[in-house]
């Protein structure tokens, strides 16, 4: 029995349930947070009617989405159309499987964890393409094409930067990457100017590219509502739309968590003396810091044009990430 309890397969269903709860609660919380944060930034009140300070608004919206009719218009490629939201949701769900929540606590501490996270999040693109193509709607198709072009392009700088982190930490396991940043915030990859200064630049590149990866402003072209109506999910309604919505907010958190694990020590406390605060709190605290930053940027900046988007990726971020990889490697070899 004890042997069984130590296996991955015994714990997998429990982990799955926990992660599902985390994702759902995250969506409810993030949507409320986005509404309130944007309202405060824009001299508004935000939701105020349902519950104290509108705290139940998101919950009510979720119920509304659940109860809505699931419309599938004529001329739609039904199997693809129905499958797409699950693929998108499944992919963003799976990223959480390898995220270490605390010391020794991850649903699956794969030895290629970060590689798995990148690979599985790239799968979202397939789902979005299916959604856009099967919708039989030109706006959806435009949204999907933009999304695919964008996500595939921005994976290049992300992968290069992640590679530099892996090189410095000496492991692809996300748990190991966290452990390698132990001992206070000055040892975190994203802040440690004395260990490897190029990773600080890498942190910046990762953050910009990750905004594009999760379709946030100023890179929110795939769902630019003022240009493409609704982007790839124009034709979706009810629960299927809710799944896209859920996975979008899950992605925001996932990207924040990856950034935290790679560059801000994951569940490591700010200072060893603060170690009594449990790891998950540190991880979620930092990750929500990123989510807040994403919202702040969204409220501040307009959106780029598609050619400018590609310009930023291929002419700015990719060469810079390449430089981080080479120079960071040289630094590690000669000085580190």
């Amino acid at each position: 029995m004890t042997e069984l309890m130590q296996t991955f397969w015994f714990w997998a269903p429990f982990s799955a349930v926990v992660i599902a709860i985390v994702i759902t609660v995250n969506a409810l919380f993030s949507v409320y947070m986005e509404r309130k944060v944007s309202a405060w930034m824009q001299d508004r009140l935000g939701p105020m009617e349902n519950g104290p300070h509108g705290i139940l608004q998101t919950l009510i919206d979720a119920v509304k989405l659940l109860l809505k009719e699931d419309i599938i218009a004529r001329g739609i490629d039904r199997p693809l159309f129905k499958l797409a939201p699950y693929i998108v949701f499944g992919a963003s769900f799976a990223v959480f499987a390898v995220t270490p929540f605390a010391d020794g606590h991850a649903a699956a501490d794969l030895n290629v964890g970060i590689f798995f996270a990148l690979a599985i999040s790239a799968f979202v693109v397939a789902g979005i393409m299916m959604a856009g193509w099967s919708s039989n709607n030109k706006w959806s198709l435009y949204g999907a094409m933009r999304s695919v072009a964008q996500a595939v392009s921005y994976e290049v700088p992300i992968s290069l930067v992640v590679l530099s982190v892996v090189m410095v930490s000496g492991s692809m396991s996300m748990q190991e990457i966290c452990v390698s940043q132990a001992g206070g915030f000055w040892n975190w990859h994203g802040l440690s100017l004395h260990h490897n200064p190029f990773l600080v630049l890498g942190f910046l590149i990762y953050f910009i590219a990750s905004l594009a990866e999760v379709n946030r402003t100023p890179f929110d072209l795939p769902e630019a509502e003022s240009e493409l109506v609704g982007g790839y999910h124009t034709e979706y309604s009810g629960m299927r739309f809710a799944l896209f919505f859920l996975s979008e907010y899950a992605n925001m958190l996932a990207v924040g968590m990856l950034a935290t694990v790679l560059f801000l020590g994951g569940w490591q406390p700010l200072h060893p003396a603060l170690g009594f605060i449990p790891g998950p709190l540190w991880l979620f605290g930092k990750a929500y810091g990123f989510v807040l930053l994403q919202m702040w940027i969204r409220m501040t900046l307009p959106r780029l044009r598609v050619d400018q988007l590609m310009h930023v990726c291929w002419k700015v971020l990719v060469p810079a990430a390449m430089g981080v990889l080479v120079l960071g490697g040289l630094w590690e070899l000669l000085i580190g």
Partner: protein, 388 residues
């Protein structure tokens, strides 16, 4: 500055024509960025636009036909519903046209109050134009800031005449109500508050935002010759560097008494006559309007009845008139024919937004879909006026 140019240069749209295999894309009438119920039929090659055909008429309410069955005082509320973002200016144009036909002299006080409300309404209208121009490009916050400030102007109007959008305030020969007690001070306080908002909030956040410039500079360039040829007017004409404003060049009411300047585009960040210039002219014009309001409030007579000269029955004399005034969108012309009866024989409206929209196909060849949204936003159309 040098950096900005690099940014724009580096992200220029490739100079390549569409290769013949085109897809028709219907933008609207239910589209978030067509500013109402406009339908644009785009011929696209990928994201590139080969041609645009605007389809209008979804909001047609037979304004001109209605006018043939109504007396001039009854027509005034109908003019509210043309350009519903600048109802005061529509009222003013019609009132001026009728008064010229009648040879009616309105009291000094009425003239000053008319200028104040017309310029306030110009600011309110430009705020919507600027806000939505940003919103179309994904800038959410400036939109809410603009609407917050517009709300204050609407509150003034509500206090003055009871309505927030469709005022029926400027009557033939007068005004419906006098300003309430203390209104002048409130408006002056708003002027100070708002001027600071433009400099400290709007300009850093939107006007000189690098991405906003990158999206607007060099897009939808209208040369001065094209602007004249297509009959553009208002900020769309002045954005091309043409200094022409009816308030100065064909003065009506008492606009010749104030010190202000006509703002024109200068190609500050991109090319002369691009979308950014059309946007920037509106920002500058808001400041000029503030200055006009201050001067008018300082010089206005305090005593007098605003309904003093309102005729009990408006009977237009035999004849015709074309009277043009400068609304926020440009030259609004009323062509009125009367055969001496109680009802006008014919009322024809030259709507500025209609002429401004006509140029969209000409300046959008080779633009991307995102650029069309930016160009449409900078042209600042109101479908209520186009369709009438």
């Amino acid at each position: 500055m040098e950096n900005q140019e690099l940014f724009i240069q580096g992200s220029r749209v490739p100079e390549r024509g569409p290769d013949g295999d085109l897809m028709t894309l219907n933008m609207g009438p239910q589209h978030p960025s067509t500013h109402g119920v406009l339908r644009l039929e785009l011929q696209t090659d990928g994201e590139e636009v080969a041609s645009i055909r605007p389809h209008i008429g979804y909001l047609h309410r037979c304004f001109e036909k209605h006018c043939e069955k109504l007396t001039p005082p009854q027509i005034v509320p109908y003019t509210d519903r043309m350009d519903y973002l600048a109802s005061m200016n529509n009222n003013l144009g019609f009132a001026v046209a009728c008064e010229r036909m009648l040879g009616l002299q309105v009291p000094e006080k009425v003239e000053y109050l008319r200028v104040v409300v017309a310029e306030l309404n110009r600011i309110a209208s430009h705020l919507v134009a600027i806000g939505t121009c940003g919103l179309d490009l994904g800038a959410l916050t400036p939109y809410f800031f603009c609407f917050r400030d517009r709300e204050m102007i609407l509150d003034f109007f509500e206090e003055i005449c009871g309505a927030r959008l469709l005022y029926n305030y400027i009557w033939v020969g007068g005004l419906s109500h006098d300003f309430p007690e203390g209104m002048d001070d409130k408006i002056l306080r708003f002027c100070d508050y708002f001027e600071a908002r433009i400099d400290n909030e709007l300009n850093p956040l939107l006007s000189f935002n690098k991405i906003f410039i990158g999206r607007n500079a060099g897009i939808g360039v209208v040369t001065p010759e094209q602007a004249w040829a297509f009959g553009l007017s208002g900020p769309s004409l002045r954005g091309s560097g043409v200094s022409f404003d009816l308030r100065r060049d064909d003065p009506y009411s008492i606009y010749d008494r104030f010190q202000w300047k006509v703002c024109v585009g200068e190609g500050l960040v991109g090319q002369l006559g691009d979308s950014w210039d059309r946007y920037w002219v509106k920002v500058l014009e808001m400041k000029e309007s503030l200055s006009i309001i201050r001067q008018a409030l300082a010089a206005r007579p305090k005593e007098g009845d605003v309904r003093e000269a309102v005729p009990s029955r408006v009977k237009l004399p035999v004849g015709e008139i074309y009277c043009r005034t400068e609304t926020p969108r440009g030259e609004l012309g009323y062509y009125i024919v009367s055969n001496g009866g109680n009802l006008p024989e014919r009322v024809k409206v030259r709507a500025p937004a209609f002429s401004n929209l006509c140029i969209i196909d000409e300046i959008s060849h080779g633009a991307l879909i995102s650029d069309v949204v930016a160009i449409l936003g900078s042209l600042d159309i109101v479908l209520g006026e186009i369709d009438r």
